[in-house]
Symmetry: C2
Amino acid sequence: MANQKRGKQSFQLQEPPVITAWANVAGKKETEGPLGYTFDIKCRDAYFGQKTWEQAEKQMQQQALKKLAEKAGMAQTDFDLVFSGDLLNQCIGSSFTLRNTGIPHIGLYGACSTMAESLLMASMAVGGGFADKVVAMTSSHFASSERQYRFPLGYGGQRTPTAQWTVTGSGAALVCSKGSGPKITACTIGTVTDLGIKDANNMGAAMAPAAYATIRAHFDDLHTAPEDFDEIVTGDLGQLGKELLLDLARQDGINLGGKLTDCGCLVFDNTKQDVHAGGSGCGCSAITLCGYLLGQLKEKKLKKILFCGTGALLSPTSTQQGLPIPGVCHAVCITGG
Amino acid sequence: MANQKRGKQSFQLQEPPVITAWANVAGKKETEGPLGYTFDIKCRDAYFGQKTWEQAEKQMQQQALKKLAEKAGMAQTDFDLVFSGDLLNQCIGSSFTLRNTGIPHIGLYGACSTMAESLLMASMAVGGGFADKVVAMTSSHFASSERQYRFPLGYGGQRTPTAQWTVTGSGAALVCSKGSGPKITACTIGTVTDLGIKDANNMGAAMAPAAYATIRAHFDDLHTAPEDFDEIVTGDLGQLGKELLLDLARQDGINLGGKLTDCGCLVFDNTKQDVHAGGSGCGCSAITLCGYLLGQLKEKKLKKILFCGTGALLSPTSTQQGLPIPGVCHAVCITGG
């Protein structure tokens, strides 16, 4: 068999699937940030022309999918399969984007890890010969997220110093068996890790242990090390979570310093944009990957990265019932080309 | 390449993965129904020994996973990967089941189609050589579902004649590359289909068009027909949805009569149990598959079935915003052995 399971959590792709195209959509605050120049569609209206923030999120995904087809030079109906999910209850951002498009759809739930999770699944579908032209996609929206997980914006609650700012944006990547572009060579599937963090305003701390567990599993399963990568990029640990991850690695005898970067730290300029501990949300890693990172890989400024989507698997119900916040992290190794 | 994409939505497995073991857990009302004798674990306590219904749902999945390992003669840590999801906001039933188990986990969201969706994904993971010993699992709970989607039970609202009764139960199946048991030979991935149904108490009508679209795609993509199957089993259309599906097929020149059955009609005895239009929920098709149906296939009383998980992709938010209910259906062809 061509593909190989490696160790407990990882697999290698014998014929690495190719990310032939990508597209992203971002809101006003994101566009004003340091990655603004890498966004395909920039929208100043938080409603994206819709009546509600939830429908704005669907609109962003629709725009990302449309732009992806355009950049790939094909029709949306040429897509074989879309793996997508989001943070909204029952993933309505994704379901309503796909409805009546005729495109086969597998719904995922991986919280903010969804960009990596969908990319991992797309590489399974393509690498296994089950489908070709497979889309990995996700989105998040600051306003829909705040009112669902924390407080309605109108309430005007003060944000804590550890709070992160949910990115308003959507990213989509097209994974194919052939073509030119960055390649997915190996993936590591995350385990659900919970060290007892209960503060819904400190996601970085809740997710850092899961991130470290997955990165360590990737090294062990595939006999690789930090020095084999140009960058190890986590999804949305933010400033605090990133420091915690560096600490966890250091305690375990692994030096990630100099290699580790986090989409939550890249997407906003914290000296000017007052986002507290950084960006977060499914859209955070999605707009950073499907623009800046894949662009750098395409131009061979980066040769090999480990893209690690981090997710906090909480719900308001679990928080109200006094339960801690489990984290998960899925990792995808992408090489430039 | 060994596996083959067929038509627009389907794929065939050249080395069909084997369902080597399965387990199910059910509540009191389900145990009193006609399939009561097929349940591994029967619990009269709606809380399953927990403090809340949401935690009861996690408890059911934990019990199903434990029983599955026991029936397969292995430790839970021998499982390579679990694909699971549920109806609770942010799929907390699944995440909290997997936390700190060390088992790699991919979270899915397919509403009530999750048993078929997870089985389809497990067959991709095993058939593609990415993992072995892969679990497909889901659950639902009447009380957690009612309070999340409709009314709190204490409100005592009257149920409409088209309403279905969410099954309290969990089912898990183990998919392996080798071993003895029923085999997965082909799958069809659903498209999100929406004909404009807006009544959250008439799920059967919302899901029937998606079910027909997927069944028809399976026939077309794989050049097969109703007479090639012993049974075509939908997940939770209920009495009304089943009639609608028969009608849709008839109008399209296809006769499903005599072949079509529905887990929502099998799981309760409507002459005695007053469940209105039948059973529903992720647990409905899960406890019916991971007991009665796989048992019949193992004993060769059934030779070939098309298991069609049906899901209604609504959320209370989408309903309150006046949006219709999109449906989805994923189909898995299982042969006895």
